[in-house]
Assembly symmetry: C2
Homo-oligomer: 360 residues x 2
């Protein structure tokens, strides 16, 4: 018997690099394959991820959301291009200059700010709105630009709203809008429309650069397509205690679970403080050698309790699998009433994990 | 106009200390008032919080969940006692010895491990189960202990399941079970039953030590009681873009929001990558000078989009309030179908915030 207390997060960088190469070689149709490593590479460690993609897959174009996210990336990617999706502002200008970052211009105000503060020969990216109605300059802004100004961008980009659903009317609508803006205002400027869901929609959607994010991390960005991407993370957590629940006993805060018969339960050392969604209370499951054990009662900050009555031989110190190849962040997302993106982005931010990188 | 990109997290340590003092002076009935600073003090920074409580409120007893959480606490709390709720194991023994931490023994296996590896004159805490059915030794384990062994603990503790609901049958049931175990097996050992919800249940529940956590951070742990605790955090995020939505336009991923009339919208620089629960999509709100603006469409990793049609004068660079005195983590928790504890524990883990501590 081994008494343990800490959860474990394993990140397989080899599989991550394979996902990137698959998307680059099979799905990008020759477009530049930029890697999206924002939000600390979906919390998996932007430095580790960027370095692997740079060294093992010749990636030379990276996207972060905020300038400060590039602090730990710049040292490991040589003079690669690093684009900043949220754009530039007074609270980030110094970082842009110091790390030589390329802003994405998302609004007229950001454009004016850039004009007033631009540095070097750097050509920013212009983000134009085509239907998502999130970031991106509107047509009325584009029309304010002179021809010389329109020529001052290295790329024109937009972003799809429904690219995970093949045949969705929004895809064609946005594609058309983007093609029209490009033809009319930016005929000579390279273009980028798709992230890692859009690349599954085919060659029309890839243009000159694709921005590969979620799918690189194993998220199934094209649920309609045969799954071709590999799971990248495994989360395990040790059993702290095993006990017997008598008929009529309650479990957890609020006493939301009541045993209708004798049950065997295990307390596992992971909770919402580690990123385990509390919405999995009384709904989710953990696994022992691929045998599922239902989560019973409310998930607390440091622990989940599960019913191991039908699981053969569970002992203190055994590791429960929380996320793995057979129960991915997408599947957990469905159980937690969210998406794999949010599941993934949350787990890796927690410092109580023993974090291991697998790399050949 | 000021163009900004990063969200801001303000933590008011003065109010936090006042909350602790209120709980200690008014609600603890002379019991030792330990501070629970697990999960990095609910993500607010265990070092900062512990130092404030140590220096400004004479707190000398701290609880963490995992031993490694004490790494940054030990240097700022002198020789205060630091208890570790998840207990001790092979993956943490070294940290216990080096930082002189006190384990809570939660199972028979943890007790055997402690017996085999104990160090110094240190007396652990025995956690006994009284109805939560999470951690804690069962009666059958307690009965295996000799009288001398039972005398080797500095405290005997348990934990309440429903202490946030006055009059809940579980409270009296657990109190009785705890009193019986104490009287029969630990008549001379100091005792601890309540966390910061239990202290509102009165003197019977406070025993010799209370463990003050959530309420110190402003969470309303006694919703039935007049609110006496102060909000401790403020979260703001800048507007990146303002635009007009035409009738029939869609917003966000999946095009889940469709405008039935012209709307004005603002894109705010905070998303689930910053800890904003995606379950607030099309449900939650943000505020401009206390005027609410509905979140429309799905929340994405870096942004939320809100309807500012009825908000006077919103411009790029303006700060939207995400959490504040008038919209607390408890209220956001209700909107997000969870609790303030999970909201709080998640936000502070995100490094994209400009983090400010307010302290006199």
């Amino acid at each position: 018997m081994c008494v343990l207390t800490r959860p474990i997060l394993e990140i397989n960088l080899d599989k991550l690099v394979e996902n990137y190469k698959y998307l680059k070689e099979i799905k990008s149709f020759g477009a530049v394959s930029a890697a999206v490593i924002k939000d600390d590479a979906y919390s998996l460690g932007a430095d580790k991820v960027a370095q692997s993609l740079y060294e093992k897959a010749d990636c030379r174009d990276f996207f972060v959301a905020h300038a400060l996210e590039a602090e730990k990336v710049r040292p490991v990617v040589g003079d690669s291009k690093i684009y900043v999706l949220q754009g530039v502002g007074e609270d980030s200008l110094e970082v842009f200059q110091r790390l030589n970052l390329i802003p994405v211009i998302n609004s007229w105000e950001q454009y004016l700010f850039w004009k007033a503060h631009k540095f070097g020969e750097l050509k920013p990216v212009l983000h134009v709105e085509t239907g998502l109605n999130r970031l991106g300059c509107r047509l009325c802004d584009v029309e304010k630009l002179s021809e010389a100004e329109r020529g001052s961008f290295s790329f024109v980009m937009s972003h799809l709203a429904c690219a995970d659903a093949v045949g969705h009317f929004m895809n064609e609508k946005q594609l058309k809008a983007f093609q029209e803006i490009k033809a009319k205002y930016f005929p000579q400027t390279p273009a980028s429309l798709s992230a890692s869901d859009g690349v599954f929609l085919g060659k029309d959607y890839t243009f000159d650069m694709v921005r590969l994010g979620a799918a690189v991390y194993g998220i199934n960005t094209a649920p309609w397509h045969e799954k071709t991407l590999q799971n990248v993370i495994t989360i395990k957590a040790p059993v702290l205690a095993v006990s017997t629940l008598k008929e009529g006993d309650y479990v957890g805060y609020g006493a939301t679970y009541k045993a209708v018969a004798e049950r065997k339960l295990a307390v596992v050392s992971i909770g919402y403080g580690d990123g385990m969604f509390r919405s999995l209370s009384n709904v989710g499951k953990v696994f022992f050698n691929k045998v599922p054990a239902d989560i019973i009662g409310r998930i607390s900050m440091d622990n989940v309790i599960c019913d191991v009555t039908s699981v053969p031989e569970v002992n203190v110190g055994d590791l429960a699998t929380i996320v793995g190849d057979f129960y991915t962040v997408d599947e957990m997302g469905a159980d937690a009433q969210t998406i794999g993106y949010e599941i993934l982005s949350r787990f890796g931010k927690n410092t109580r994990f023993i974090r291991k990188y697998i790399e050949s």
